[in-house]
């Protein structure tokens, strides 16, 4: 790791000021992605601005059909929160599948959503539930936020403060984890919302995406069989040493069916 300066601002405004004053500074969440990157010398920030203790980034609240989760909330705390379990049990379930216990004890919602790893779990829930990403500057709809491989709508120096999830009628997540890394080879988040069905896919493509053909098919029937034959362009999916495009396309369909199976069961 290159030498750097660690700073812990006392407020969101101070954090923003630090980022503005030091163009080579980087935000530090749980560090579960960033610290390993620094150890490999793949990044050379002048400052690490630790935002995990800012009160503005904490708290889980449920009210008026919305579930709000502070960006510094750890995966473990989402997985075990009774409020999350009541409002959107699929989200608590998803958080409990991320990495391993040690990673869940440090990694944060904001860090995961900012990083937008193509195989990360949270992006599927954020997009599948049509959540809103609230930053220190504005509110961004999930449909506008995710922009492919590690790319997001975040601007330089923009800080995710919280994520607001509209509570769905029902939702479910099914993930096929890579057996070694635990990241999703394919993960499908299915939600029945006031505005219809949403199907978000992670792990399989260069970034999280909505499977619109499946959403259209599910508008007619919620049975898993409704997904038979629904188009999914394998050419758009990832191909690497772990799996071919065709294999991933099949995994997406199987995970989507599993998620639907859960959807029709208990909430």
């Amino acid at each position: 790791m290159y030498a750097l300066n660690y700073v812990r601002p006392g407020s969101l405004a101070e954090a923003a000021k630090l980022l503005a004053a030091h163009p080579e500074a980087k935000l530090l969440g749980g560090g579960m992605t960033l610290v390993p990157t620094l150890k490999q010398r793949l990044a050379k920030p002048s400052h690490l601005v630790d935002i995990t203790q800012l009160p503005e980034l904490h708290g889980i609240r449920a009210a008026k059909g919305r579930l709000e989760i502070g960006a510094a909330t750890k995966h473990h705390d989402v997985a075990t929160s009774s409020m999350v379990r009541r409002a959107v049990p699929a989200l608590a379930y998803l958080a409990g599948l991320i990495g391993d216990p040690q990673v869940r004890n440090l990694g944060t919602l904001g860090g995961s959503v900012a990083n937008n790893d193509p195989a990360a779990d949270y992006p599927a829930a954020v997009l599948g539930l049509a959540a809103t990403i609230v930053t220190n500057k504005r509110e961004i709809a999930a449909d506008d936020y995710f922009q492919g491989l590690f790319a997001t709508a975040l601007e330089e120096g923009e800080i995710i403060v919280r994520v607001v999830f509209p509570v769905p009628k029902r939702a479910a997540y099914a993930k096929f984890p890579h057996p070694a890394s635990g990241y999703a080879m394919a993960g499908v988040f299915v939600a029945r919302t006031g505005e219809g069905m949403r199907v978000a896919v992670t792990g399989a493509g260069p970034g999280v995406f909505r499977w619109r053909e499946a959403e259209a098919a599910l508008a007619k029937s919620l049975r898993p069989a409704a997904l038979e034959g629904v188009a999914l362009d394998a050419a758009e999916l990832n191909e690497d040493i772990h799996a071919s495009r065709e294999y991933r396309a099949n995994l997406v369909r199987v995970m989507a069916k599993r998620a639907l199976g859960k959807l029709s069961g208990r909430k």
């Binding site: 790791m1 750097l4 560090g31 610290v35 040690q102 990673v103 004890n105």
Partner: protein
């Protein structure tokens, strides 16, 4: 440089270290607590697992300054007055180790797992140790040791 104060196994230590110092290096190099191992150094193997304010973390992936002020428990803090901790006893009795390199991390991860789930199923044990790799045992006896640990700790709690 950063002035870092940590309470490690009940004893307060203050050291001035570089900001980039990892918690595992703080423990091993500054405090001489070499029971916490470095296996992969890439946050995969869990050998370096310690507890920070009661939660298991991989100390190779955390800066010491990031946890400034925290309470840390390492493998050296598990045995009390020369008596093995029940989890250590269980690993020894169930032969939950061969070379022993992964064992400090396994024991700290087990302690974390059993705090959250005092009575885990076999599946919960396997899921709960997903952050720890062992190149020797094949895990069978590790799972046995966790089951025995749970039993010993439950007995201790009730009696």
């Amino acid at each position: 440089m950063a002035r870092v104060t940590l309470t490690v196994n009940g004893v307060k230590h203050t050291k001035t270290v570089e900001d980039r110092t990892l918690l595992v290096n703080f423990l091993r190099d500054e405090l001489g607590l070499t029971g916490t191992h470095i296996g992969c150094d890439t946050s995969q193997c869990g050998c370096c697992t310690v507890h920070v304010n009661g939660r298991a973390v991989k100390s190779c992936s955390v800066l010491a300054v990031q946890v400034n002020g925290a309470e840390i428990v390492t493998i050296e803090g598990m045995a009390k007055k020369g008596k093995l901790h029940p989890i250590q006893r269980a690993f020894s009795e169930c032969h939950g180790l061969q070379c022993g390199f992964c064992t400090p991390g396994m024991i700290m991860a087990t302690a974390g797992l059993l705090r959250d789930r005092p009575n885990p199923t076999e599946e919960e044990i396997i899921h709960g140790l997903e952050g720890n790799l062992c190149r020797c045992t094949g895990y069978i006896n590790i799972v046995k040791a966790v089951k025995m640990s749970a039993k010993l700790l439950r007995g201790r709690r009730h009696g």
